[in-house]
Symmetry: C2
Amino acid sequence: MHMGRRSSAATITEVARAAEVSAATVSRVFNNRFVGDPTVAERVRRVAGELAYTPNHTARSLALGKTRAVALVVPDLANPAFQAILSSLSKAASRDGYRVLVADSEESAVDEPLLVDEVRRRCDAVVLCAPRMPDADLLSVAARLEPLVLINRPSPRIDAPSLSIDYGSGIRDLAQHLYELGHRHIVFLEGPPGSLSNRQRLDGLAAFAHQVGDVRLERRPGGVSTEDGVATAERVMATGATAVLAFNDLVAIGLLDGLHRLGARVPQDISVSGFDDIPFAKYTTPPLTTASVPNTELGTQAWHRMRALLRGEEPDHNLVFEPRVELRDSTAPPARGRGRITD
Amino acid sequence: MHMGRRSSAATITEVARAAEVSAATVSRVFNNRFVGDPTVAERVRRVAGELAYTPNHTARSLALGKTRAVALVVPDLANPAFQAILSSLSKAASRDGYRVLVADSEESAVDEPLLVDEVRRRCDAVVLCAPRMPDADLLSVAARLEPLVLINRPSPRIDAPSLSIDYGSGIRDLAQHLYELGHRHIVFLEGPPGSLSNRQRLDGLAAFAHQVGDVRLERRPGGVSTEDGVATAERVMATGATAVLAFNDLVAIGLLDGLHRLGARVPQDISVSGFDDIPFAKYTTPPLTTASVPNTELGTQAWHRMRALLRGEEPDHNLVFEPRVELRDSTAPPARGRGRITD
DNA sequence: CTGTTAGCGCTTTCAA
DNA sequence: TTGAAAGCGCTAACAG
């Protein structure tokens, strides 16, 4: 024995004794599996109420072999994109009686496998968002961690439902939009070199450049935050480009501010686009042209897949969400382009 | 018996048998309580490794009577303020080996007590953010749910550590700032009528008005979101006030946009202030004067209190954070005030 | 030093 | 219809 203070909640045994039935009966009553004398059920309920009895979740979990909780592992809980995913996942899960445990890997790809292992043990499954996890790690993690659903980490070799965003198509559409506006010299402000979504953007852009031919596409280190964006303003102007594709809205917003301080007008002097369509994108000055990403829907769909897995059903097909261009005022035809102007 | 497929992880008993020791020994090895022959420990570890054994968290929790998890209950996970709290709480907790389980009450104050009860059962404690929970509920919840730490819900009658923001002082400081600028006719855009933080702002404003005397302070329904803010623009202009205190930054940002569309210039025609100092406040046009609120620090401090409680130690004193005025460009002296202008 | 044993609180066969 | 008993996997007295 090793109890703390005995002020804790009543146990099923105590209720059973007080109601003069067996623990099995109490258990049945509480799980709606009771079929006998309604009087008995009533008495059990009453006694349980008096004793303020509520089943011990841990004990149930051990007996049942399931915790009714899933873990969500993300690289950075403070990132609005992950917050949207968490929020929608949690809401959806709770409708099915599940809770979500969060784990922030703090962008540390190396101990991510350990972290995932650890949280998986406390839950019935994990929703993993690990854009920087090496493929080998992901493979081994996936092997022993199912049920597992992957977010933003498509991997053909893994047999786990996967939901993702096609960043490549999003940035391509944005580039296409700028091109149609008449821009022929565009700079792309890169995100973290190691990140998959940066890779996808780069690939999408390369494909685009290859396809249209007559466009000069440069890349410059950008970053991920507003501060990073502010810092790139001078560098961007130095390129002489007529338009810039920022890695995300945060960077774009910072850039807008930086450009403003330098006296550059957007979109007259230079066009700027973001990515993500965060809630503030439409309130910047000028309102930001960007590509919207359905993170909330991503969270909801992730839960649908997860629920199917948990029930032993076949999960719906994998999904790749295509970002959608949101045309606003931060992009316009170049004043005098180096390429031809469309009109 | 009622096992699923027996493909699950190895148990302590299996490791014990394979290593030819008792389960107790394996347990000791894994908990660093083993003091005997190093050879034995080594063998146990090796065998455990071969069997890919990792302790079952649920079983441990049941045996120990603790889960090493705490719940965070908030009214809306999608709100950036709660995200900041969650993110910092989770990071702090994880450094001490704890995980956090999230529960979103979806602004439904009525089933909050049930929700809190439910999650408390799965965890060792709960960090509760329930600004709208009736006092009576809070009292009964507090009685049976400790360890408990309260965020933004100061309650003198409850013996639980409490961390909060002094919204009254924040809004008073903002009003004072406007007053010193020369504003004598100010409108306050209210938040949710039932919310404590709205109440505090109202009280702070009343005290301020009473203290300075010569200021006309009106209140108007505002809301909590950017959309709400956009919608109030006309109503605000109709008051003829020279300055407006928005309930929060979101509302202020929406208002800025609404005013811009009406052709009103900020701060020349009207001054606008927000509340919270969300990351974007400094990037609006013009940059928003607001009162900053340390949500991240709140989460960190909440964990410190929680940890003390969990260890049976005396938690640090309760804390009330005073918002700090962040002077930016959305506030300026009125063009021609109805009161005297300071200069 | 190490193993035996009881127990954490609940669920679920199996038998009556 | 109900109860006895075993078991979920682990920990911790207690012996030896």
